[in-house]
Amino acid sequence: MKIIEVLGPGCANCQRLEANAREAVAQAGVEAEIRHITDYVEIASRGVMSTPGLVIDGTVVSAGKIPTPWTIAAWLTEA
């Protein structure tokens, strides 16, 4: 069971990243829970300064970018 967190105040790019993450989970066939974190303090305390950020199991894997579903799927399977 993996925990995926999407960090972002709810802008269009954050929604797109969340959608990509969902697709990645389906592609990779892993079990995962996706959380959307919108609180600025929470985002900043992860060390992410450019939204949207993506966190897999507590590790920040990208910030300020929207990785494609297959890139995220690769991160999910290799980790």
């Binding site: 105040p9 900043a44 305390s45 060390g47 300064m49 450019s50 920040v60 894997v61 970018k65 990785p67």
Partner: protein, 346 residues
């Protein structure tokens, strides 16, 4: 099995890049003859008439501006994937005031920034030990001296004004940053900001060249998709000014004879945020009609650096006093730049 599902079939990368570049160049060189042909042959307008000149201005500027935007934003977005704010923060922490402020303003040009990132960025900088003044220098320079403004100014108005704009923008950012640092306003930052636990993070950049290019193209579509309506409206207004507004009127209202022109243009520029791409065609037309350089620079800087929506977002991390000081210093700096350039050009 998963490998098949994860990988997509697509054309070789170099082929896509090459085809895109060739198409771009072809469109660039065809824009002027095509617009002249369309305005004067197809539409049958007379060169030299008011309507003819306005329509030709519009038909030439629209493809030119959209091509410049697409090309340069793609290039800059690609280069930007190598410079993240997280890296900038590491470079800025623990420098002395003057060097740090200047470096922050410089980084502001190349670093991605959108107003939805302003708050995490502000908290992230301060919490990593970047001084308040240095943080502000970055916050001011980043939206003001950006690639969209620079490229459009260069392409439409010329290199001289572009360099003046960059120099003026960096000066305002550095001076404002040093001043805010000197004033000791740390207590007017919202208290919770100082209590955010440190979360320094180093992201393993295990992304491929293709990922970078893909991301650059995605953010280009995003940016161009958002600004093109403003560009069209801006060029429409510019075309109208170019064809119909008499030079004497512009000189009379915005010229050196009117001492209030600069502050009035700054006040007008504040609500016009995110329309930098749409403003430059208007500036182009106004300059052609004799608007003094200082007034034009002040107008543009006010539009990009001072924006109401960004102020509302920044209120989350700053007490009103700090926000007002920041806006006041930047506005005063822009007005001073406007008068200085008007005086130099006179």
């Amino acid at each position: 099995m998963t490998a098949i599902a994860v990988h997509r079939i697509h054309l070789p990368l170099w082929l896509v890049v090459l085809a895109g570049s060739v198409l771009w160049l072809a469109a660039w060189f065809l824009a002027l003859p095509a617009s002249t042909w369309l305005a004067f042959d197809v539409l049958g307008l007379e060169p030299g008439t008011q309507l003819g000149e306005a329509v030709a201005f519009f038909l030439y500027d629209v493809p030119k501006v959209l091509l410049l935007l697409t090309g340069i934003v793609t290039l800059v977005s690609f280069l930007r994937s190598f410079v993240s704010p997280e890296r900038v923060r590491r470079a800025l922490a623990g420098r002395n005031a003057v060097a740090g402020t200047a470096a922050a303003a410089g980084f502001g040009i190349v670093t991605p920034f959108c107003s939805c990132s302003a708050v995490p960025l502000f908290i992230g900088f301060l919490e990593a030990g970047v001084p308040l003044g240095v943080t502000f220098a970055f916050l001011i320079a980043s939206p003001m001296v950006n690639e969209v403004a620079i490229v459009l100014l260069w392409g439409l108005v010329g290199p001289q004004l572009t360099l003046a704009y960059m120099a003026a923008g960096l000066t305002v950012a550095i001076v404002a940053g040093l001043l805010i640092g000197r004033l000791g306003l740390e207590r007017y930052v919202e208290d919770y900001v100082w209590k955010v636990p440190a979360g320094a993070v180093t992201i393993d950049e295990h992304i491929t060249l293709e990922d970078r290019l893909r991301e650059a193209w995605r953010s280009t579509r995003d940016i161009v998709g958002r600004v093109w309506p403003y560009v069209i409206v801006g060029i429409g207004i510019g075309a109208f000014i170019h064809g119909f507004v008499p030079t004497e009127l512009v000189v009379q209202i915005g010229g050196p004879g009117n001492p209030l022109a600069v502050p009035a243009l700054v006040a007008l520029g504040i609500p016009l945020y995110s329309n930098a791409a749409g403003t430059i065609p208007v500036i182009e037309a106004l300059l052609g009609k004799g608007l003094p350089v200082g007034s034009a620079l002040a107008f543009m800087m006010a539009i990009t650096a001072l924006s109401l929506p960004e102020m509302v977002i920044l209120r989350k991390v700053m007490k009103p006093r700090l926000l007002a000081t920041f806006a006041g210093i930047v506005a005063a700096g822009i007005i001073a730049i406007g008068y200085l350039f008007n005086w130099l050009a006179a």
